[in-house]
């Protein structure tokens, strides 16, 4: 590096420096836009796909000792397209008419399931500190300096070259081949293309395979930039790709390409020209140091907020879109009164049995796990409010929970506040953040709300956590973020059992509040909004106000739960508890099991903490068989399987948004009904196609076909 460089030279160097990573961003953005345009799937699992290819390449090179070429062929040109084809064929082809949000949730589930599944099948585990190598020997240590201002590493040059080849190939495909023409047609309108005699399924399958190759290639190329191969980093990468694609307004491939390059160069420019603040402005310095990795998230958030029209880019695209039946609504029908009573009676009985067992029989480790389950269930109630009631996907609940935890840490550490008071302050701060955050993103509907919250979660992760007045800064790295247990008057909750009792009390209070909200004005308003926003506005409901309240309440609950979790572990433990990728599993669990009900949140909490030890480790079998020696040989199963299991379970969200528990119960009720009562006549004419889950009678009353409003019938109800 030269000492006294002129400004133009600095700019030139920054451009050169930013181009190779920009090219990789562009590569992954291209693949992302390709999938999005041809199948309408906003594929968050793209990062997971990139990770799997990179991991297989790494594994084949390191563990199996393969040469570069076969490892590359296997990971990028065999495995990657195979995954793409399988996803299209097994999942997304059947979801063509599902709502965009439902598809998004499916890809979130896949983001969790795919890396875990790969790790289990190949027996791959990331080894800390073993830096992945690139596809050329000595990629990181041999440099070329063509212009005398910036030295490219071999890896960077390869990335650049591959990106150029990929883009040219894609351009040629679109311009000169019949398949490319068909793909362009499918982008415009799949149904119109089918009318022209082209099987849009096949075109779409090809697009999935092709874009997956892009993902795999980008994954392998970017691997040397990470110290350790971790799925979370790759999830991060897909957010960068979304930012690049959003800069290109998500519609055109050339713009996505330009967006990726622009992002890479912009980060390099920022690194070069951002003024260096002195040490007396420590917090500014902390922001500055962490700003560069956060640039994509800031850009993404900015694009979404400043240009909300992006949310309408696709919806209007297909002139034949209205021929498809409308997708099922995000959440399911109300349950019957009988089922509610039955559920509550059962839950109470179950609760009594479990508490007896826990208080009298359980050892410390079980008490710890049960407490964790209860606290997680509390946090999950925040997802019940925002996703189950308001029908919106929030991916920053982890950040809100962390705000709760950090606030307790800060208040107790600095001002020696009472811990419980601090917990409520934390929840209030989280609620304020939630309400504040919802202001700019209110106008964004559906998936764009989810993406904006994701961008915020990553921004929080990259910048805010590092600040000394939030996450504790450097001292926290050394000393941890310690949080004591609370005391109320004579009661000291340092004892694990008494803290469990406190956690249960908090959960019950929050659950009652959530039920009151659901039955009250706010819940009913949100249900109306979820059913039809235009109709809700037409009777005077302000969508903005209702959503601010929902998001604020949700953030409050998450903050309170986060504070409780920090108290339980006596440490905030941000990376393992609240990081975006970790918190994504929360959402997956809740939507898989049931986002509508308190019961769903409770079971999700139990699954989070207890599924692995109880079921996968085989303790439940041991208990049933009354002997630890007679556990079947398949146990213990790796706890990683829960990511696979629940990740894949989240796929059914597209068809049964009410979740596994509620849907299962409904199936049972229907079976009972069929045995008890006469067959239920199907409704004769419906304004909308009826969800299979709601079409048949849920209560066994006899509904005669209501064809003509002149003769309204079917009212002999007995509730």
């Amino acid at each position: 590096m030269m000492l006294a460089a002129s400004v133009p030279e600095d700019i030139f160097r920054a451009i050169l420096q930013g181009t190779p990573p920009g090219a990789v961003y562009a590569l992954i953005a291209l693949g992302f836009v390709l999938t999005y345009k041809t199948s309408g799937v906003f594929n968050l699992a793209f990062g997971a796909q990139a990770y799997v290819s990179a991991a297989l390449f790494f594994h084949a090179r390191e563990e199996w000792g393969w040469a570069t070429a076969p490892a590359l062929i296997l990971s990028v040109f065999v495995l990657a397209p195979l995954i793409g084809l399988l996803l299209e064929r097994l999942i997304f082809r059947h979801l063509r008419t599902a709502s965009a949000v439902a598809k998004l949730v499916v890809t979130i589930g896949l983001s969790v399931a795919l890396p875990a599944l790969f790790g289990l099948i190949v027996d791959f585990q990331a080894v800390a500190g073993r830096t992945p190598e690139g596809i050329v020997p000595d990629g990181a240590s041999v440099f070329y300096d063509p212009f005398g201002v910036y030295a490219f590493s071999r890896d960077e040059l390869v990335a650049l070259g591959v990106a150029v080849v990929g883009m040219l190939g894609l351009a040629a495909l679109f311009r000169f081949t019949a398949l490319g023409l068909a793909m362009r047609a499918v982008v415009e309108s799949p149904r119109m293309t089918e009318l022209a005699g082209i099987r849009s399924d096949r075109v779409s399958a090809f697009a999935w395979a092709l874009s997956s190759v892009f993902a795999g290639m980008a994954g392998v190329l970017i691997a040397p930039r990470f110290n350790t191969l971790v799925a979370a980093d790759y999830f991060n990468l897909v957010v960068v790709a979304i930012a690049a694609a959003a800069l290109g307004r998500l519609v055109s491939l050339p713009r996505a390409l330009a967006g990726g390059l622009a992002l890479g160069i912009f980060i390099a420019l920022l690194n070069t020209f951002l003024p260096r603040w002195s040490a007396d402005n420590a917090w500014l310095q902390a922001i500055q140091e962490n700003l560069t990795p956060a640039v994509p998230f800031v850009v993404l958030f900015g694009v979404l907020v400043l240009w909300p029209a992006i949310g309408r880019t696709r919806e209007a695209a297909d002139p034949l879109a209205s021929v498809d039946p409308p997708p099922p609504s995000l959440a399911a029908t109300t349950r019957s009164a009988g089922m509610t009573v039955a559920t509550r009676v059962f839950a109470l009985g179950f609760f009594l049995v479990v508490s007896l067992v826990v208080f009298f029989r359980a050892d410390d480790s079980w008490i710890f796990l049960v407490t964790q389950a209860v606290i997680l269930a509390t946090i999950f109630l925040s997802i019940t409010v925002i996703t189950g009631f308001a029908g919106q996907i929030s991916l920053c609940q982890g950040a809100f929970a962390a705000i709760g935890g950090f606030t307790v840490f800060q208040f107790v550490d600095r001002y020696d506040t009472s811990v419980l008071v601090a917990a409520f302050i934390g929840a209030a701060v989280a609620a304020a953040c939630g309400a504040l955050l919802s202001l700019p993103v209110l106008r964004l509907g559906g998936i764009w709300f989810a993406i904006a919250t994701l961008a915020f979660a990553f921004f929080f992760d990259a910048v805010m956590v590092k600040l000394s007045w939030i996450g504790g800064g450097d001292t926290a790295l050394l000393e941890g973020t310690r949080v004591p247990r609370p005391t109320i008057g004579p009661w000291d909750f340092a004892n694990d059992l008494s803290f469990l009792a406190l956690a249960v009390v908090v959960f019950v209070l929050v659950a009652v509040a959530v039920i009151q909200i659901r039955e009250g004005t706010v819940g009913r308003t949100l249900r109306a909004l979820r059913g039809s926003e235009v109709a809700a506005a037409s009777i005077g409901i302000s969508p903005a106000r209702a959503r601010i309240v929902a998001f604020g309440v949700s953030a409050f609950i998450a903050g309170l739960g986060g504070a409780m979790l920090a108290m339980q572990q006596q440490n905030v433990n941000y990376p393992s508890n609240f990081a975006p990728f970790a918190a994504m599993f929360w959402l997956v669990l809740v939507v898989a099991l049931g986002s509508r009900t308190v019961e769903g949140a409770a079971i999700a909490g139990a699954s989070f903490a207890l599924f692995a030890p109880l079921v996968l480790r085989g303790d439940l079998f041991a208990w049933i068989l009354r002997s630890p020696d007679r556990i079947p040989g398949v146990f213990p199963i790796s706890p990683e399987w829960r990511f696979v299991l629940f990740g894949l379970l989240a796929i059914q969200f597209a068809h049964h948004p009410e979740g596994l528990v509620e849907n299962g119960k409904r199936q049972w009720m229907r079976r009972l009904d069929r045995r008890a009562g006469p067959p239920v006549a199907p409704p004769a004419r419906q304004p909308e196609p009826v969800d299979p889950a709601t079409g048949a009678g849920a209560e066994g009353h006899d509904v005669t076909a209501a064809a003509d409003e002149a003769a309204p019938v079917g009212a002999e109800e007995s509730r």
């Binding site: 609504s329 959440a331 399911a332 029908t333 109300t334 509040a513 009151q516 909200i517 039955e519 009250g520 004005t521 706010v522 819940g523 009913r524 308003t525 249900r527 109306a528 979820r530 059913g531 039809s532 235009v534 109709a535 809700a536 506005a537 037409s538 009777i539 005077g540 409901i541 302000s542 969508p543 309240v549 309440v553 409704p683 004769a684 004419r685 419906q686 304004p687 909308e688 009826v690 969800d691 709601t694 079409g695 509904v703 209501a706 064809a707 003509d708 409003e709 002149a710 309204p712 019938v713 079917g714 009212a715 109800e717 509730r719």
Partner: protein
């Protein structure tokens, strides 16, 4: 003049160079039934949206009871007394018929504070239920009050939309092609019911409609839009036989008599 409910003056709306509405002025008086007709693409829906607040016109004013509502969002206009139904039916999925009316009633009362919910005071109150049931009775929907909305026919669904709008105490009810998707009997039943309800509540109706029969029998006055311009207005019976309307609908053909 004091009895004017809706007054639109010089409403002009352009979409990327296309003039969707060109200086449209229209007036609806209290208790009146007014039609707005015109061929496809004439700008009826755009005008509707300008009144409702879905679109903002470039020029012109929209007055509700002589108050300028041009700057207000959709829900604020709804609270001031503009109710509507939808061409493609818009109901709240997974709710019963009565729940539709109850939430509209609660919104009208406007006391849906979060803390009241938390105190358990957010559930429907007896007087709210009574008022909803009165309207359901009036619409002939009383027997369907507990039905989930998915089980209703299209005609019943449209009546639920009317009922939901009625709960907001509208001064003006905008009906967006209420006959679409309904057969003759259903349409006649809807028109009859609407007339009865209007007699009881006394709001004004502005009807956008393709069904000439319905417009002729249902409205007292009507306006005709073509290519964004008002081409005729007056008592419905006269407008229907005017030359302008024939030209707009059937083209510029000399009728060989």
């Amino acid at each position: 003049m004091t009895d004017t409910v809706l007054e639109a003056t010089g409403v002009t709306k352009r979409f990327a160079g296309i003039v969707a509405l060109d200086d449209v002025s229209l007036q609806v008086d209290r208790g009146e039934r007014v039609g707005l007709i015109g061929p496809n693409g004439a700008g009826k829906t755009t005008f509707f949206n300008c009144v409702l607040g879905v679109e903002r016109p470039e020029d012109g004013r929209v007055l509700l009871e002589r108050e300028d509502i041009g700057g207000l969002p959709v829900h604020a206009r709804a609270r001031l007394g503009i109710g509507r139904t939808f061409q493609r039916i818009e109901l709240f999925t997974e709710s019963t018929v009565r729940e539709h009316l109850l939430i509209a009633e609660r919104t009208r009362r406007g006391d849906g504070r979060l803390w009241k919910d938390l105190m358990g005071r957010g559930r429907p109150r007896a007087e709210e239920v009574a008022r909803c049931d009165d309207v359901l009775e009036l619409l002939g929907l009383a027997d369907l009050a507990e039905e989930p909305i998915e089980r209703l026919s299209l005609g019943q669904g449209r009546l639920v939309e009317v009922g939901r709008a009625l709960m907001t105490d509208p001064k003006l009810l905008l009906l967006d092609e209420p006959s679409s998707g309904l057969d003759r009997d259903d349409t006649a039943h809807l028109a009859r019911t609407l007339q009865e309800v209007q007699a009881a509540h006394g709001f004004a109706i502005l009807l956008v409609e393709h069904d000439v029969e319905l417009v002729s029998s249902f409205t007292e006055r009507c306006y005709v839009l073509d290519f964004g311009c008002l081409i005729a207005s007056g008592p419905t019976a006269e407008v229907m036989i005017s030359d302008e309307v024939r030209t707009a609908y059937f083209g510029d053909v000399e009728v060989a008599s």
